[in-house]
């Protein structure tokens, strides 16, 4: 093997597969120039990490981004791409044959939207609490229904809080549960219609069911089985 700088860089970065790694190690053991280069690359890398400036975001930027996102969320043209997607579907002539699916699809898309928005915008919960007796009364006056709030900590899904969101043309309750480092959003609103469904979208699992006159949607990036367990825990009568 000849001295090749980029392989030594990749070796220092621990980016080589075991066989290439082994070859480089063999070579370094016998080639003083390359061993020197390896040491130089590693030292300079550490120096850059330690001494070159890492530009943290100033507080004023944090505030202005927050303000811009809030203004955007409150704006009227909230999801212009939804209109685009609908137009494309219409043009394809698909919309008539799959109307109810399309409605459910759009709802699922809105659910995903709300979930991602809450993560990016940093507004996971409006009422952070693991106590259902704090979360449920908080919804009073904010919704035209009273969602049932269950504590599922014993099942491995501790409650993190709740928020109010706007989905499918109405205000809905969102209960946020935790599973390890992941969030599960549970959307609830009164509705009689709709059966069970399950979709994968943008890397999230979305489960839908109807129970006791409430339409329920659960979304998370946890494993599908875990989310199904979550659904079963929600549906189980206490």
């Amino acid at each position: 093997m000849t001295c090749s700088r980029q392989w030594i860089d990749a070796y220092v970065d621990d980016e080589l597969d075991p066989s290439a790694r082994w070859q480089i190690e063999q070579h370094l053991a016998g080639c003083e120039a390359c061993a020197g280069l390896r040491a130089q690359i590693a030292a300079r890398r550490e120096q850059v990490r330690a001494a070159a400036p890492y530009y943290r975001a100033p507080d004023r930027l944090r505030h202005s981004v927050h303000a811009a996102l809030r203004a955007e969320a409150a704006g009227p043209r909230r999801w212009p791409w939804l209109a685009v997607a609908a137009t494309v579907l219409l043009a394809a002539g698909l919309v008539w044959s799959v109307r109810s699916n399309r409605e459910r699809d759009l709802l699922a898309q809105e659910i995903v939207a709300s979930h991602v928005r809450s993560t990016i915008g940093g507004r996971l919960v409006d009422v952070p609490s693991s106590d259902r007796h704090t979360v449920r009364p908080w919804f009073n006056g904010k919704l035209d229904f009273s969602p049932e709030v269950r504590d599922l900590a014993a099942e491995g899904f501790p409650l993190a809080g709740g928020r109010v969101d706007y989905v499918g043309g109405r205000t809905v309750a969102v209960l946020v549960y935790r599973r390890g480092n992941h969030n599960i959003d549970l959307f609830l609103w009164p509705s009689e219609s709709g059966g069970d469904s399950e979709t994968q979208r943008n890397g999230f699992t979305v489960l839908h069911w109807t129970d006791a006159g409430m339409s329920a949607w659960a979304i998370s990036d946890i494993a599908r089985d875990d989310l199904q367990r979550f659904r079963d825990a929600v549906r189980a009568r206490p």
Partner: protein, 157 residues
């Protein structure tokens, strides 16, 4: 809480080499991310946001270049190349900063993503829309250039 804001700002700041421009780019990036999150297909959200920052920077640079069509040299506009006398009093951090900023942007971005964010080559490849092999060779060349530049500065003292 805004996730990955420091990482987004650090990348934008190194790419744009100007504090106010970096802040504009970050702000625009978060709005874009917010509006077009359907481009997010799961996976590492930091990588995804950094991709948005990089693309926003490219759009911003194109716009800048159009409006500054008669000022061809980036370096002149930003005053990157320091006078030789300045090198004497430069600290280590200042020498590194100057040398990283002097790298061509395509080298600079892989270096920043690797050294500061410590991203694996595969993720850098996704962010910069490059084959992984190209990330490997670019990073290596970026480090080589940085090494030469820093040595030159030290020798000039």
């Amino acid at each position: 809480m805004l996730p990955h804001l420091d990482a987004a700002h650090n990348l934008a700041r190194w790419l744009a080499r100007s504090a106010p421009d970096a802040e504009d780019i970050v702000q625009e990036s978060y709005l874009r991310a917010f509006r077009f999150f359907e481009g997010y297909h799961g996976g590492d959200s930091r990588s995804w946001l950094l991709t948005v920052v990089r693309n926003t920077f490219l759009t911003w640079r194109k716009r800048e270049e159009r409006s500054l069509a008669n000022v061809p040299l980036d370096e002149e506009r930003h005053g990157i190349a320091p006078a030789p006398s300045a090198a004497d009093s430069e600290g280590e951090a200042e020498a590194l900063r100057g040398c990283i900023e002097a790298l061509p942007p395509e080298f600079r971005e892989v270096l920043i993503l690797r050294e500061f964010e410590e991203l694996p080559y595969r993720e850098i490849a996704e962010i910069a829309s490059l084959p992984t092999g190209t990330v490997m060779s670019r990073l290596s060349r970026a480090r080589q250039r940085l090494e030469d530049c820093v040595r030159k500065k030290v020798a000039a003292r």
